[in-house]
């Protein structure tokens, strides 16, 4: 088979798997698991094959026009360069891991068939985005991902949090998608084609007339999809979905799409230095803000969600300094360790019966209950904190190195201001990242208090996946940074000495600070016996979780989700190193800097007021005319109704009278003529 045919099969197989899963889910439950796992696995093999054949050399291009579509043609096109080939492998790999993990995690879930089918559809849409060489076809995958994330985040739709979160995810990403669509049209109008290759050609020959406008419009869509400030608010709330879905969204699909899109069209953004500075500021605000917020979160999944936002900030930062090789390198290594973090967090939540870090810090011996999750999560957190030689170190260094290149003026791809912004924010975020990673690890695994509840052994499918993902988290960066430039632009990705020392030093400082703060707070809480005892609510939650020792993991998570509010309120006063580190910033950071409240005041309430105004206009003004128009016919009808007496003989009399009148009239007319 040709490479093109293989590449076309890569997104097609999960799509067919999803269709078959949706059709057969009810009638043939035995087929659901194979249909969920095998298509992504086959896609992974095919994507690897495509990558081997492409080999980082000349990009594979193929296109066919199904039907003429007016002024600017829309074609089914493939454009597979080194970026696309490698990102597709990551997507298929993470999707396969998530599907295998889900067979264990949601084994007793009644909605598993539709869930698995939607995950497959999600994967297929992302693979379409990755391989597509036509911007409109890319947009199709982009939007399919939006609707899939809506369904999957709302998987536990019995809980109000999940319903609200799924709607929020959909609406916020759509808010970015509208400018994105307009931006695509503007880009295609200037370039005369939706094909990626032609657009890049047009940029190279300077045919783009409004680069800043186009770049900013596209940036809005990317900010929504990749959860960048100011459209990031949906991602922490999206934690209401099942943990494997979070892993999928955060590691491989959805949020990666935005970064990948900029990487693919980077010359369009580079054409406008204003857009690059905006991108850099966006990345910097996202990085630092999410780092601070992650330090104050209590829900383990929300910590990870904010860390995803921060790591995506690194990627956009790398793009802002014009190095897409570094951005996609970080995307790949982040995909591996973030998927691992979420899947391990799912195991921990299952074992602890809660997703509150404060509750976990009151449990002794949680790590002995889940040794696999403990070790793999340690690896992933070290990768997240960018400690050498874990893979996160190399990819993060490549980002900071790229920023340093721009600062020292050795490249002319990006404005120097962008380089400074990204470098300073990146170094500060390295400190924050290490601090919250340490805090998460200490609170989850070094808890003191009652013995952790025993939920039995985790299913093999779940633990094996963790170790499979631990391998790239550990070794991918170190092994790949020499060979990756051949796949990418050829820019060197080797860590530079200065930034390596700076960022590793800062990471160590951050980790030590968090450790010191933890030591102090736990010593304080040990000395003061007045620490609030676990309340009734919390005991009840524990009891409920312990009541299903053999229960399905997702069931435990749904319980934890429902009980998190009260548990959080009661336990927030317990020892938290984040509180000591952040000081007065702790409360706003825990609430995500009240951005949701600001949006509620700025957008939600005006829209609701406008809606009630429209409702008033409709019911009081428009309806009055409608009712008035109906009044006259009703009056006439009432007059005619009087004649209906029900007496047949009256009717016949009227008939006779009418006949006589007609007959006389005819006779008179005939006589007159």
């Amino acid at each position: 088979m040709t490479t093109t045919a293989l590449a076309a099969l890569v997104p097609l197989l999960p799509f067919l798997g999803a269709a078959a899963g949706l059709l057969l889910g009810r009638t043939a439950p035995g087929f659901v698991r194979p249909l969920a796992v095998l298509p992504p696995l086959a896609s992974l093999v095919l994507a690897a094959l495509v990558a081997v054949r492409q080999g980082g050399g000349q990009a594979v291009d193929a296109h066919t026009e199904l039907t003429p579509t007016g002024s600017v043609p829309i074609e089914l096109a493939l454009h597979i360069d080194g970026f696309a080939a490698l990102v597709a492998i990551l997507v298929a790999f993470v999707a396969t891991c998530v599907q295998i993990y889900s067979t264990g995690y949601l084994r007793d879930d009644p909605r598993y068939p539709s869930y698995a089918a939607l995950v497959s559809l999600f994967t297929s849409a992302m693979l379409l985005v990755v391989y597509s060489g036509d911007l409109i076809v890319l947009l199709v995958g982009w939007e399919v991902m939006g609707i899939c994330s809506y369904f999957l985040v709302g998987h536990y739709w019995e809980t109000p949090e999940a319903r609200a979160a799924s709607l929020k995810a959909f609406l916020v990403t759509k808010l970015g998608d509208v400018p994105f669509l307009i931006g695509l049209f503007a880009l295609a109008t200037d370039a005369g084609s939706f094909r990626v290759t032609r657009v890049l050609g047009a940029v190279a020959s300077g045919d783009l007339h409004h680069p800043t406008l186009i770049a900013l419009l596209l940036l809005a869509g990317v900010a929504g999809k990749s959860a960048q400030f100011p459209l990031h608010t949906w991602l922490p709330d999206a934690m209401a979905g099942p943990t494997p879905v979070s892993a999928l969204i955060h590691a491989a699909t959805m949020v990666a799409a935005g970064v990948y899109f900029i990487a693919r069209l980077l010359p369009v953004f580079e054409a406008s230095s204003a857009a690059m500075v905006v991108l850099a500021v966006m990345a910097a605000v996202t990085m630092t803000g999410s780092g601070l917020a992650a330090l104050a979160q209590d829900d383990i999944k929300r910590v990870l969600a904010y860390s995803t936002i921060g790591q995506l900030g690194y990627m956009t930062g790398a793009l802002a300094v014009g190095d897409r090789g570094a951005a996609v390198f970080h995307l790949l290594s982040h995909g591996a360790f973030k998927a691992l973090l979420f899947l391990a967090a799912g195991v921990i939540i299952h074992a602890a019966g809660t997703n509150s870090l404060a509750a976990m810090s009151r449990m002794r011996g949680l790590r002995d209950r889940v040794p696999d999750a403990y070790w793999t999560m340690t690896v992933a957190l070290l990768a997240l904190a960018a400690i050498p030689p874990f893979s996160g170190f190399f990819s993060k260094e490549s980002v900071l190195g790229a920023a340093e290149h721009v600062v020292t003026g050795s490249t002319d791809h990006a404005p120097g201001a962008a380089g400074w912004i990204v470098l300073v924010a990146g170094l500060f975020t390295a400190l924050l990242t290490a601090a919250y990673a340490t805090r998460l690890w200490l609170l989850a695994f070094r808890g003191r208090g009652a013995e952790a509840p025993d939920h039995g052994r985790q299913p093999l499918t779940m633990t094996v996946v963790l170790w499979v993902l631990a391998v790239p988290s550990l070794a991918f960066g170190g092994l790949a940074y020499r060979s990756l430039p051949g796949w990418f632009d050829g820019r060197d990705l080797t860590p530079t000495l200065l930034t390596s020392i700076l960022s590793t030093g800062l990471a160590l400082v951050g980790g030590l600070l968090a450790y010191g703060a933890w030591q102090r707070t736990s010593a304080l809480s040990a000395r003061v016996p007045a620490a609030p005892a676990p309340s009734f609510e919390w005991e009840r939650l524990q009891g409920e979780a312990a009541a299903h020792p053999e229960g399905d993991a997702s069931l435990v998570e749904a319980h934890a989700l429902a009980g998190h509010g009260p548990a959080y309120r009661d336990l927030v006063r317990t020892a938290d190193p984040g509180r000591l580190l952040l000081g007065p910033l702790y409360r706003p950071a825990a609430a995500g800097f009240h951005l949701d409240a600001v949006y509620a005041a700025l957008f939600v309430r005006p829209v609701q007021a406008a809606a009630s105004l429209v409702r008033f206009l409709d019911s009081a003004v428009v309806d009055t005319y409608v009712r008035g128009a109906a009044a006259l016919p009703r009056l006439l009808g009432a007059a005619v109704r009087r004649a209906q007496t029900g007496n047949v003989q009256t009717y016949v009399s009227a008939l006779l009278a009418g006949t006589v009148v007609l007959a006389v009239a005819v006779v008179l007319v005939a006589a007159g003529a």
Binding site: V652, S653, L656
Partner: protein
């Protein structure tokens, strides 16, 4: 025989029937009056057919043939009509047309027996 005799007779018959339809209360008498009107028309048909066919060389006597049709159909119609009256009487205990006013416009229109009343009306 002059045409005036049967014409006058049929006019008298028709008027009698019309009076019966408009003024009688008993549904059976109303039906009988309808038959009177029908037969007045029959008489007219036969009489005028004979009068018209006197001048013609060849005639199909379509007036008289139509009379036979009318008689046959009237027989069927009176059968159905009487059956309906019987059903109404069994349901309501009366066949007084003045009391069968279910189709009247008012707060209580329509009921379980309105269909029979409609049929009775159609027959009348």
């Amino acid at each position: 025989m002059h045409l005036a005799y049967p014409a006058v007779l049929s006019a008298l018959l028709f008027c009698t029937g019309l009076y019966g339809v408009l003024a009688r209360r008993n549904a059976i008498l109303v039906l009988m009056s309808v038959e009177l009107m029908l037969n007045a028309v029959n008489l007219n048909l036969v009489a005028f057919d004979v009068w018209l066919s006197r001048a013609a060389q060849e005639t199909l006597h379509s007036g008289q043939a139509l009379t036979l049709f009318t008689i046959a159909i009237a027989a069927a119609e009176i059968g159905i009509g009487l059956a309906i009256v019987l059903a109404v009487y069994r349901n309501r205990g009366t066949s007084d047309i003045d009391k069968l006013r279910d189709t009247a416009e008012g707060p209580e229109t329509g009921g379980p027996d309105s269909s029979e009343a409609e049929k009775a009306e159609a027959t009348a």
